[in-house]
């Protein structure tokens, strides 16, 4: 006896009424790729996610649909996850003091007071 479903596609499969609940024997891993997406000309490529693919050629083909199907996109990159080199989480501290170095920020340079003081002094001299 096979399963009769409301879904005609399911009925066509003639599935056994008592399905097998054993685990499937094979784990068929494909490789993992990271996907980068450029929304429009001039934009940065942004990381949008990952996917499984047997190779890089196929990865681009699959990325096009999974990551650009519903979005504006002009270009895509894929990189094997194994090839991405990252900083270690415990090394987060190497980035810590960067925001404090105001000598590298425009906001670290305020001279209005000095100019005004100078102007005032000049007026007095006259």
């Amino acid at each position: 006896m096979s399963i009769k479903s409301i879904d005609p596609r399911v009925t066509r499969e003639s599935l056994p009424e008592q399905p097998d609940t054993n685990p499937m024997k094979e784990f068929n891993h494909w490789q993992t790729y990271e996907v980068f997406h450029q929304e429009k000309s001039g934009s940065h490529h942004i990381h949008v996610g990952s996917l499984h693919s047997p190779n890089s050629e196929m990865a681009l083909i699959l990325a096009k649909e999974q990551y650009a199907r519903r979005y504006k996109c002009v270009n895509m990159w894929v990189v094997k996850t194994a090839d991405v080199i990252t900083t270690k989480p415990e090394d987060e501290d190497i980035f810590e003091t960067a925001p404090e170095k105001i000598y590298r920020e425009a906001s670290g340079y305020k001279v209005m007071d000095r100019i005004n003081k100078f102007k005032d002094e000049q007026k007095i001299k006259k």
């Binding site: 005609p8 596609r9 066509r12 494909w30 996917l51 499984h52 693919s53 047997p54 190779n55 050629e57 196929m58 083909i61 699959l62 096009k64 649909e65 999974q66 199907r69």
Partner: protein, 256 residues
């Protein structure tokens, strides 16, 4: 373009063939949604099925402009004998090897046909052909990579691809079933015709199939599967149409 009555008849016949092919194949391919061999590919295949339906709708729109019914009525309201699709697209989805091979053989023809039509003297058709060029480029890229990779995969996938090719090939020749309007279409520069299309198609697929190390059936030894363009269909079309129109037929006048 000043178009004569006989030219209209010719272009309509052409568009019905194309639109019906796209509708039926799009419908067939949509049957894989959620049931594909791997998630990423499921998404891709289903997306292309949607594209096909979009092409069908745009083509029926042209027919509507030429005085025929609206796209929904044309797609959902016609009986089997009035459909002009080829047998290839009617076949059930089978296993993934069959669906992929059908996708490859059909989409290569579609891409070439649209390329030819982008220069058509019949402006509406040329515009539709140009519009979908990018989509079809992706469809053929997708098909070619899958065919090549599976055919060069392992023993099993090689065997499956070869046997699908053997099965699909005579059916695919039915895409190019000769048309009684061939001469008018050529002389009015609407379309260069099925014969020319088939020749370019053969060259294109041979190129890919060689890379895939697949044995190409000898055209001269095959009987192409004709009949679809004249309204003679496989046993699969009527059940497909019944299913496709089940809800629509509850009330064709209703707005869904």
């Amino acid at each position: 373009m000043n178009i004569s009555k006989s030219e209209i008849e010719a272009v309509k016949d052409l568009i019905y063939r194309m639109a019906d092919d796209e509708l039926i194949l799009g419908h067939r391919n949509s049957e894989w949604t959620g049931l594909g061999p791997i998630l990423e590919e499921d998404i891709a295949f289903s997306s292309m099925a949607q594209d096909k339906l979009g092409h069908a709708q745009a083509l029926y729109q042209i027919l509507n402009k030429l005085g025929d019914a609206d796209p929904d009525t044309l797609a959902f309201g016609r009986k089997e004998k009035d459909m002009k699709c080829c047998h290839l697209v009617e076949y059930p989805i089978g296993e993934y090897d069959f669906s992929l091979m059908r996708h490859f053989l059909f989409d290569e023809a579609e891409a070439l046909r649209f390329e030819m039509l982008s220069k058509s003297s019949f402006e509406d058709l040329a515009n539709v052909a140009k519009k979908f060029r990018g989509e079809l480029k992706y469809h053929t890229m997708h098909a070619e990579i899958w065919i090549e990779q599976l055919a060069n995969g392992n023993e099993e996938s090689k065997a499956r691809m070869q046997s699908s090719l053997n099965e699909c090939f005579p059916l695919a020749l039915g895409i190019f079933e000769p048309s009684e309007f061939e001469d008018i279409l050529i002389s009015s520069n609407i379309f260069q015709g099925e014969k020319v299309l088939m020749e370019s198609w053969l060259l294109k697929i041979e190129e890919i199939l060689e890379k895939a190390n697949l044995k190409i059936p000898d055209v001269s030894t095959l009987t192409p599967v004709y009949g679809g363009r004249k309204g003679y269909h496989t046993e699969y079309l009527k059940p497909l149409l019944d299913e496709m129109t089940e809800v629509y037929c509850i009330d064709p006048e209703a707005e869904w």
